[in-house]
């Protein structure tokens, strides 16, 4: 009988309703996360470098990556495609991260292409700040360590 009183208590009813609404609301949002982002330490004379990592959307709604920038270089999202033994680089704009999926940036596939590197920023063990703007989730700031390549 006591437990029944708890269920019909207006405060409990309100709390249950609040939790229900919150959950429903959360399910309709993208949830963007970043994992293992890094930049391959470029040769000292290089003017470009590549960055890799994973962009994960654990939410239940798609989101679109609309803009990437850094103060240390110009940067774009590229994809390397091999066709008939030829490597082709494709510049990608407004890439959609579907709900419960991920975009894996790795060598010879999707990658961040940093060009016109500023002096001194891309040395080994440095950290580059990258800003990523999503249509729904807004702006993120992540730090990418510059690591020795392929060792």
């Amino acid at each position: 009988m006591n437990s029944l009183k708890i269920y019909i208590n207006p405060i409990w009813m309100f709390l249950l309703l609040f939790v229900f609404i919150s959950n429903s609301y959360a399910e309709d949002k993208p949830n963007i996360q970043f994992e293992d982002f890094w930049i391959v330490s470029p040769p000292e004379v290089a003017r470009s470098a590549a960055g890799y990592g994973i962009i994960r959307n654990t939410g239940n709604e798609a989101d679109t990556l609309t803009h990437i920038c850094t103060e240390s270089a110009s940067v774009m999202l590229h994809k390397t495609e091999i066709e008939s033994g030829m490597a082709k680089m494709i510049h990608l704009k407004n890439i959609v991260i579907e709900p419960n999926s991920e975009l894996v940036l790795k060598p010879m596939s999707f990658h961040l292409m940093f060009m016109d590197l500023s002096d001194d920023f891309f040395k080994e063990n440095a950290e580059i700040t990258l800003y990523l703007e999503f249509e729904k989730s807004g702006r993120f700031e992540i730090k990418l360590p510059v690591r020795s390549s392929w060792d």
Partner: protein, 213 residues
């Protein structure tokens, strides 16, 4: 008993022979007719070379350019690991050569510094556009210019000084290009086309076969 022993010896001999034959077949590398040949280029010291200068060495050759951020550094990183798997003597009998498809930007000195990031022994070859086009056609490779943009160099790494050129501006080009790794024997014949997907131990084995020929 003697009969059984003979049978066992026969079976063992057959299996050894077939295994040996199988290994030989697996590493069979006939000359790829029409792929490769002698050419002239400019090495990292600005010296004109003939490809025949490397005769007597096994050569692994790739095409690319230094403004390539993804596949070219990845390929050179792969070759760096591959090269490190060779013994010192094997390294002395092997040459890793990277031919640029962007000779206007990849001057000999710039290429040399770029290659040194991966290994001091790696050779970068540049030259005139005509020389590069000839090498590309010899090896049945391909490349094409995707785009060329002008960049202000005030805050960009001043990595490629060119005499008589305004340092305030420079150009950056993007190319598509062939990704094959040409395995060339000591006589200058192309024997195999490999890729960065080739397991390194398998590639090393092929280099060893050509060194031992």
């Amino acid at each position: 008993m003697l009969k059984h022993l003979n049978t066992i010896i026969c079976i063992l001999s057959l299996s050894f022979f077939s295994c040996h034959l199988f290994a030989e077949t697996e590493l069979s590398m006939p000359i790829l007719s029409g792929v490769g040949g002698d050419f002239t280029a400019v090495d990292g010291d600005g010296k004109t070379i003939e490809f025949s200068d490397y005769r007597g060495k096994v050569v692994v050759m790739a095409f690319g350019y230094t403004n390539c951020a993804d596949i070219c550094p990845f390929t050179l990183g792969y070759l760096k690991t591959l090269y490190s798997k060779l013994s010192l003597e094997e390294q002395q009998n092997t040459r890793i050569i990277f031919v640029t498809v962007d000779p206007e930007y990849d001057t000999p000195g710039h290429l040399k510094a770029f290659m040194a990031h991966f290994n001091d022994n790696f050779i970068g070859l540049s030259g005139t556009r005509e020389q590069i086009d000839y090498i590309v056609s010899l090896y049945q490779a391909e490349y094409s210019n995707l785009s060329t943009t002008t960049v202000l160099t005030d805050y960009v790494r001043r990595v490629n000084p060119k005499e008589g050129v305004d340092k305030k501006e420079d150009t950056t080009s993007l190319y598509t290009h062939s990704v094959a790794l040409y395995l060339i024997d000591k006589e200058g014949f192309t024997r195999s086309l490999e890729y960065t997907g080739t397991p390194k131990d398998e590639f090393v084995q092929k280099i060893r076969v050509l060194i031992d020929e």
